[in-house]
């Protein structure tokens, strides 16, 4: 016997599972994701720069932060020397978030998009933002 019904049913399930990403995105536009650097602190900078170049920060910031934590917590070292030779205090709240005071429009933008949940805010207090 052929089990036609069961095979067709199985194939329908397979088809749905295999093309699920397409089905889930039917008719949805590809959202543009651009973290905002529009904060008073950054706007006030004569030459906009972070502790490291933008491309490096984009892909390596998690490692840098991880490293910073270890430096402070384990080694008591509170100074970071950037690749440009400048010294920066190692501090999430006083260095990073001083400029990037807009967590929702900066950090969360990509993190939410990528479904990444950094555990920074498990210990640190998230900045109180004035504007939503």
């Amino acid at each position: 016997m052929y089990n036609t019904g069961k095979i067709i049913a199985g194939l329908v399930v397979f088809f749905i599972l295999a093309t699920l990403p397409f089905l889930l995105n039917l008719g949805k536009a590809n959202a543009k994701i651009e973290p905002s650097i529009d904060t008073p602190e950054i706007n006030a900078m004569p030459k906009k720069h972070c502790v490291e170049p933008k491309a490096f920060m984009r892909s390596e910031h998690m490692q840098l932060l991880n490293n910073w934590r270890d430096q402070v917590v384990r080694n008591g070292n509170r100074i970071y020397v950037g690749s440009d030779g400048n010294e920066y205090p190692i501090s999430l709240q006083n260095t990073c978030m001083k400029c990037h005071a807009n967590k929702k429009k900066f950090c969360d933008k990509c993190h939410n998009y990528m479904a990444v949940k950094p555990y920074c805010w498990g210990c640190h207090i998230a900045p109180k933002e004035n504007e939503a």
Binding site: N3, L11, F22, N30, Q63, L65, Y119
Partner: protein
């Protein structure tokens, strides 16, 4: 030969996109759009085609391999999962088979010791097989975060589980280590064990090398040669919403990873990897042992030439009468 050639093939498959996107930027369209669409189409329709091809052949007889007590007298306990008679019991048996590799769990090792055969426990193949398939599935599902804009909680939970130990940044996935370990074991086993090496074909090494290369490229990308991950998701979403774009800033390593996956997808329907679909069609596992309870129908059953009783009696009538046997015709 059967080991080296597949290895060389995979190396070439790695180099193709690597040089492609590095040397000529325009090939990104090819590797990022054309190949993925082709691969998905080949995979989905190839898979369906193969299943339909198998389905075209009927199952003429009810031939389950029974691995436990049959259903007979009411006071004898039937082994419902190993010798099913109802559809639900068959489903149970199949679930055990597909989800936990029940049959492979029975595996054991035969050795000659002190002049006699002894059977030792051998669960490594089962364990490695299970680890490989489950981590592959886990990793596959985890990748859905690239394909849906609002990632469902379930996927996030899975990811949380996978990176439960919160080692390093980005968080280390356990399944990455498991799949590398399992595939390596399966590969080493094929090279090292004489029996397995003897039976192996190039077609057994190729998928292992390919999957290993996929896993390694993925791991390199996540932990070492990082790429612009948001752009990657933009590309992915573009593909699945049928509105492909090639965002800036995606490294060659991504195209290597993607291309190898595409090759795997295209290779899948035409290879032994179809065991994924085939296991559901295996008559020794997916049938109920009920052929004495309900008549099983063979669609091509045809009349055959038999030696009838009448012919038999004609041959032996005198001898039968002499021996006192009743006959139809005197």
């Amino acid at each position: 030969m059967k080991t080296v050639l597949p290895f060389i093939a995979v190396v070439i498959l790695v180099l193709l996109p690597l040089f492609g996107v590095t040397v000529a930027h325009q090939t990104q369209i090819f590797f990022g759009v054309v190949v993925p669409y082709t691969a998905v189409a080949v995979f989905v329709f190839g898979f369906i085609y193969r299943i339909l091809q198998w389905g075209k052949s009927p199952v003429p007889f009810c031939i389950p391999t029974t691995c436990g007590q049959q259903k007979s007298l009411p006071w004898i306990k039937q082994d419902k999962l190993e010798n099913p008679v109802t559809t639900m019991q068959v489903v149970g048996r199949m679930l055990l088979e597909v989800l936990v590799f029940r049959s492979l769990f029975r595996n054991m090792k035969t050795e000659m010791k002190e002049g006699k055969a002894v059977y030792g426990s051998e669960k490594l193949l089962w364990l490695a097989g299970l680890a490989f398939h489950w981590s592959f599935l886990f990793i596959f599902v985890r990748h859905y975060r690239f394909f849906v804009q609002d990632v469902p909680t379930a996927i996030q939970l899975m990811e949380g589980m996978d990176s439960f130990f919160q080692i390093g940044a980005p968080l280390f996935y356990m399944t990455d280590a498991v799949i590398l370990g399992a595939v390596t074991f399966l590969l080493v086993r094929r090279v090292y064990l004489p029996q397995i090496r003897y039976i192996s074909l190039a077609a057994d090494f190729f998928p292992l090398f390919l999957i290993l290369a996929i896993a390694i490229s993925g791991i390199l990308m996540r932990y070492f040669f990082k790429t612009h991950i948001v752009a990657v998701k933009q590309l992915a979403i573009g593909l699945v919403s049928l509105n492909p774009t090639i965002p800036e800033g995606i490294g060659a390593i991504f195209y290597v990873h993607l291309f190898l996956i595409c090759v795997l997808l295209m290779y899948f329907p035409f290879s032994k990897l179809m065991h994924m679909g085939g296991v559901f069609l295996s008559p020794t596992r997916n049938m109920a042992n009920d052929s004495r309870i309900v008549r099983y129908i063979n669609p091509w059953n045809y009349p055959v030439h038999v030696h009838t009783y009448e012919e038999y009696e004609d041959d032996f009538r005198e001898k039968m009468k002499k021996a006192g046997l009743p006959v139809e015709k005197e």
